[in-house]
Amino acid sequence: MFTPLDWISHVTNMLVGQAQTWVFVTLVQPVLYHFHWMVDDDFAYDGVLWFLAGLLQIILVYAVLRPLEALRPLEVWPDRRAVRVDVLYTLINRLGLVNLVLFFTLQPVVDGVQAWLRLRGIDNLNLDSLWPGVTDRPLVAFFIYLVVLDFAGYWYHRLQHQIQWWWELHAVHHSQRQLSFWADDRNHLLDVVLQAVFFAALALIIGVPPSQFVALSLLSGALQSLQHANTALSFGWLGERLLVSPRFHRLHHAVGYGHELGHQNNARLYGCNFGVLLPWWDILFRSADFTTALQPTGVRAQLPPPQGQGEDYGAGFWAQQVLGIARMLRRIGGTAASLRISA
């Protein structure tokens, strides 16, 4: 007998599946066949699903969050020009372009490493098989993987702020002073690659099934868009402690308070509120701040003197990418020089 979950799955399969089939058969498969790329047709079929899911997610997020930002804005801006570049980041990330590049560049390496490990008897953990019949139930497994990946995400995020050269890349994300729901994907491409490699490897090690990885990515993406939204939306006292809210995350983006390396002018050393989806880790490791009043967002160095140094973080996509690399190299060079001096 079918369970309700089975029926939901079948209805979803019908709707999504028809779109996936049409796009694949009409647009993708002929290209694969023509260019003798049929060896990757399974991957391409999955890629179409990523693309469609990303497109659907963007449409839904826009449909829900844009009116919310218009009706109940937290900050009122004269225009949304600064937000436009974040739309480009979102399209690049969520329509699967990054995944496509990573597949062709990193998948052979990942497979090779896995083959090497398997030959030496080192297997994946497959967390969902810990308790057959219980942990391998789709919803239970989904929750387990969500919590484990979120825990890893918390520490990954903390390191992005703590390791100086890494922070200079991550600062691309934080340099948006008009924080909107589009800002989640505003990241340096190198940072995106590092993050994708880390989480793909972790997912592989702990055994996240591919279908759940899609679902986890979609849920995570939608919630993170909400966190960045420019809206006065309260989750309430309890809700704020269960799920990262826009207020909680906006404080993480606060200039000189939520995220920066420096610890002057009342800034918190390495910041606060690092949680990706769950604020539990911030509470557990004492980095949560639920009380401080909201402040403007951005990076202190962007501000004109005397508050900052008036540093240019770039207005366009390529400027942000190039300047990010330049800052990273400067930081690495500075660290090397200081090490030489101290030696």
């Binding site: 089975d6 799955s9 089939t21 060896v39 079929y45 057959p132 055994g207 279908s211």
Partner: protein, 339 residues
């Protein structure tokens, strides 16, 4: 302890309404969903669905026909089902990357094509136990396999290097490899092991290889993205699915010619099964989340049954003999038991 956990798990699954006990089910592997869909063969309606391991792609019965083995490629294990009811009855852990699996006709060897890991693992099969004999690194993407009737050689297609490898089973060594064409997938031996047919998924043809001289003797145009074989069980004809042209071609193994096409199918026909009476041909549509039933009298698609994502392998108990160069597995098992 592990066995106990499995018994409990199987009990829970069996009593959770996940799989109704029937003796005429069709087992479909939804490889993209990591699930199995069970279909009532008579009504052609889905009757259940349950989680298997990660990326189940192929399945086959054990030589004694007592268990149906589902190979979970990413899960790295084998799930054992009752072949008649589809109910889970056990598992075999630590079989890395079992993408495609096969028993040699004498039941001594269990061969695993590890597609992702670029290996062919050969196990000795001993009364239900799988004992690793050798791992053979083979670049790259080993996918399908075919055994000679004497169980001495297994031919493996290597999708990424456009070649086929011949492996000597007694010594577990690679005898030779040869280029055959763009993205080879299904491999098939004609009666008497005379000709090795190789389906080219990157092309529109099946190539006929003389394995003794290692030469391509003929190229048979079938349809775009020829992929997988299935015997028509008449000793003369074999079917091949064409994943891009959405057809199934009928090949004459004597003349090495195409003698017909089954058209009007859904996208991505892949694995094929034939009912024991040769009337109904079941096929998974890899890119259409469905399974089709073809009436072989009219060669028309008469039913489409929705299943999960990327349905790949399918199986039912009461089926026509699968191979052309070998007697049915059940007969072999009977002979082996008598010996």
């Amino acid at each position: 302890m592990r066995k106990l956990v499995w018994m409990v798990a199987c009990f829970l699954l069996a009593h959770a309404g996940a799989a109704r006990a029937r003796d005429d089910v069709v087992v479909v592997l939804d490889s993209g969903d990591a699930r199995i869909t069970l279909i009532d063969q008579a009504t052609r309606q889905p009757i259940g669905s349950f989680a298997t391991g990660k990326e189940p792609h192929h399945l086959m019965a054990t030589p004694d026909n007592r268990d149906l083995i589902v190979a979970n490629a990413v899960g790295g294990d084998l799930l054992l089902l009752n072949p008649q009811t589809g109910k889970p009855i056990g598992s075999v852990p630590d079989i890395p990357d079992p993408y495609q699996i096969g028993f040699s006709p004498d039941h001594r060897w269990f061969v695993v094509n590890c597609l992702r890991l670029n290996r062919v693992d050969i196990y000795r099969y001993d009364q239900g136990r799988f004992l690793l004999a050798r791992r053979i690194a083979l670049k790259s993407l080993p996918s399908h396999m075919a055994f000679t009737a004497d169980s001495k050689t297994v031919y493996v297609s290597l999708q990424d290097t456009n070649s086929v490898a011949a492996i000597d089973l007694p010594t577990q060594t690679v005898l030779w490899t040869m280029k055959v064409g763009d993205t080879p997938a299904g491999v098939w031996l004609t009666p008497g092991d005379k000709t090795l047919l190789v389906a080219l998924t990157g092309s529109d043809a099946v190539v006929a290889v003389d394995p003794r001289t290692r030469t391509i003797v003929k190229r048979i145009v079938t349809g775009k993205a020829a992929h997988n074989f299935r015997s028509l069980a008449d000793g003369r004809h074999v079917l091949v699915s064409n994943r891009v042209s959405d057809t199934i071609s009928i090949l004459d193994m004597d003349t090495l010619t195409k003698v017909g096409d089954i058209t009007g199918l859904r996208p991505g026909p892949d694995d094929i099964e034939l009912s024991a009476d040769r009337r109904w041909l079941w096929v998974t549509f890899r890119f259409a989340r469905s399974v089709g039933v073809i009436d072989m009298r009219t060669r028309q698609l008469v039913d489409v049954i929705p299943v999960g994502k990327s349905p790949h392998g399918l199986y039912f108990y009461d089926r026509a003999p699968f191979y052309d160069n070998l007697p049915p597995l059940s007969t072999l098992a009977h002979t082996a038991a008598a010996r």
